[in-house]
């Protein structure tokens, strides 16, 4: 694999900084970082630019300042987080360099000096491999794509001044939503429509907790029933999982969903419908009532 000259990381979460800068060190010779939040989070970059703690401004207001850094440092690749801020900043940077963002990258490589990424499309039915054509490649990268590493603390940190912005922050409200890192989970319990109601989803949560796992869901549960956050629905926008075990509960096994969980080492299915397609796509299956099976398993696990 050929190496890039310089990779610039833009991030505001410590886990993303550690993952993306470690990935940058793998893909390129030099790493630089633009970051916001806690000043103490700069790692693995030779030079870092600090936008402050964002108490009085949105990260989006730093767009023109970020573009100035990009113009000055001329990286070959820019990596952002696959968050709302990361996507928007990536779009602004790519547009300035006549490029398209390679979004929700699950794999990134450098082939013949072009940055190539793979991502899921059509709700998880297919993987799209794409290549950047612009002057600078820009990608937003899902959590867990690179392994987080603390190679070297960054000492060379300069402040990033905001510059002009058409957006003014009036107020920050509410707390951070708990983001589940499904892509890094060893065990994922999948919730399907078979649960019948939002209340019953607690059975899955208790089961996942006993296993030390996370809870994901099918598209209808995340998007139509809204029993669980949309971000946890398996098969779109980077939520591809690769756990040791995936336990599909009340999930029929539609193709888009199965693609999203295909990389699980073991798949266990629980469904009351003997004819559900999931039973052809699992390693172990049990035909029966999940409202009986899951609490019984939870009790056994807890001993």
């Amino acid at each position: 694999m050929s190496q890039l000259k310089k990779v610039l990381v833009v991030a505001e979460n410590e886990s993303a900084i550690l993952e993306l800068t470690a990935g940058a060190a793998f893909l390129g010779e030099h790493t630089e970082l633009i970051y916001a939040g806690n000043q103490d989070m700069a790692w693995n970059a030779e030079i870092a630019y600090y936008a402050g703690d964002l108490q009085d401004a949105s990260f989006l207001s730093y767009t023109s300042a970020i573009l100035s850094v990009v113009n000055e440092t001329q990286p070959s690749l820019i990596m952002t987080e696959a968050t709302k801020n990361g996507r928007h900043l990536a779009a602004a940077i790519a547009t300035a360099f006549n490029s398209s963002v390679l979004t929700d990258a699950l794999e990134i490589s450098v082939e013949e000096n072009a940055v190539v990424s793979t991502r899921m499309v059509y709700g998880g039915a297919a993987a799209k491999k794409e290549k950047s054509l612009g002057g600078i490649a820009v990608t937003c990268v899902g959590a867990g794509v690179f392994e987080a590493k603390q190679i070297k603390k960054t000492k060379n940190i300069s402040p990033l001044n905001m510059g002009e912005s058409k957006i003014r922050l009036l107020e920050r409200r509410g707390k951070a939503v708990k983001t589940v890192n499904l892509s890094a989970a060893k065990c994922v319990v999948g919730v399907g429509r078979g649960f019948g109601s939002a209340e019953n989803v607690d059975i899955a949560k208790r089961f996942a907790e006993a296993l030390g796992g996370e809870v994901g869901c099918s598209r209808p549960v995340g998007e139509e029933e809204k029993w669980l956050p949309k971000e946890t629905y398996l098969g779109i926008s980077g939520v591809m999982i690769k756990p040791d075990v995936y336990i599909a509960c009340g999930i029929s096994g539609q193709v888009q969903h199965m693609t999203g969980v295909n990389q699980a080492k073991t798949i266990i299915a629980i469904n009351k419908d003997k004819g559900a397609p999931i039973f052809e796509k699992c390693d172990y299956g049990i035909v029966g009532d999940l409202k009986k099976i899951l609490p019984a398993l939870t009790d056994k696990i807890k001993g």
Binding site: H88, E130, L133, G134, D283
Partner: protein
């Protein structure tokens, strides 16, 4: 306030077939308006009902943009006018190329104050076009907006992001991308559907807009992943013995 809500015509994904060589066959799939775009149209209608002005819709794509069923579907949601950029080249347009086409249409439409986009397209879902369009136009632009207040001639928006909520004041003209939680799109009544057929639709080619589009990325392949072979050991019935078999398999995985 003159509002343009953007939408994309997308294939019904459950009707996409996977062929033997792992490629996708879209030829049997019906087309529909992207589900997240309906939130943008509804947000536009709600602002219009509060402060007045106009609501139009705009799309870019190949021949499908002219499909009369889709045209009626989008216009039955309330907008008074449809605009479309139609060109075969848009069949393979990425977010950068799509935004170029939308930008030239917006420049052609008079006095646009606010462009609304959905959270992402229903098929590729890169969540990029709105942010790219805002950058190209040089307008104020934010994504992930869950509430819009346009009562005082400027825009106050609530932006829900992973770290919480930002209340932002943004100048006009602006491009705002709304979340799928901002509203529940209205269901058109029969009279809305009948009335939609009489509304005005303007379709431009790229050359009529004096514009050319260029992708910023190149698709190498779109392939359905091969499914892993599975053991398919099935226990029929939720007897204690069968539950215990599943428990034994879980225990083997050393999770607890």
């Amino acid at each position: 306030m003159n509002i343009v809500a953007c939408y994309k015509c997308v294939p019904e994904e459950e009707e996409i077939e996977i062929k033997g060589n792992q490629t996708l066959d879209l030829s049997k799939a019906q087309w529909k308006v992207g589900q997240y775009d309906l939130n943008a149209v509804e947000a536009g209608m709600q602002i219009y009902e509060e402060v007045g002005g106009t609501v139009s819709v705009l799309t870019a794509g190949d021949a499908v943009v002219d499909n009369s069923k889709l045209r009626k579907s989008i216009l039955s949601r309330g907008p008074e006018q449809m605009y479309a950029v139609k060109d075969e080249a848009l069949n393979v347009a990425d977010s950068y190329a799509t935004a170029q086409a939308l930008k030239s249409a917006i420049n052609k439409i008079d006095n646009v104050d606010l462009v609304l986009c959905g959270e992402g397209s229903g098929d590729i879902y890169s969540q990029q076009v709105g942010s790219v369009l805002g950058s190209m136009l040089g307008w104020a632009c934010v994504n992930s907006v869950g509430k819009i207040n346009a009562a005082n001639g400027n825009l106050i928006v609530e932006r829900s992001i992973e770290s919480g909520m930002e209340v932002l004041e943004i100048s006009l003209p602006a491009v705002v991308c709304v979340t799928s939680d901002i509203n529940i799109p209205r269901i058109p009544a029969m009279k809305d559907i009948l009335g939609a057929g009489k509304k005005n639709a303007t379709v431009w080619s790229l050359s009529e807009l004096n514009t050319e589009i260029k992708n910023g990325s190149d698709t190498i392949s779109i392939l359905a992943p091969e499914q892993t072979e599975r053991l398919q050991t099935i226990y029929e019935g939720d007897s204690d013995e069968n539950i215990d078999e599943i428990y034994k398999q879980l225990r083997k995985l050393n999770l607890f």
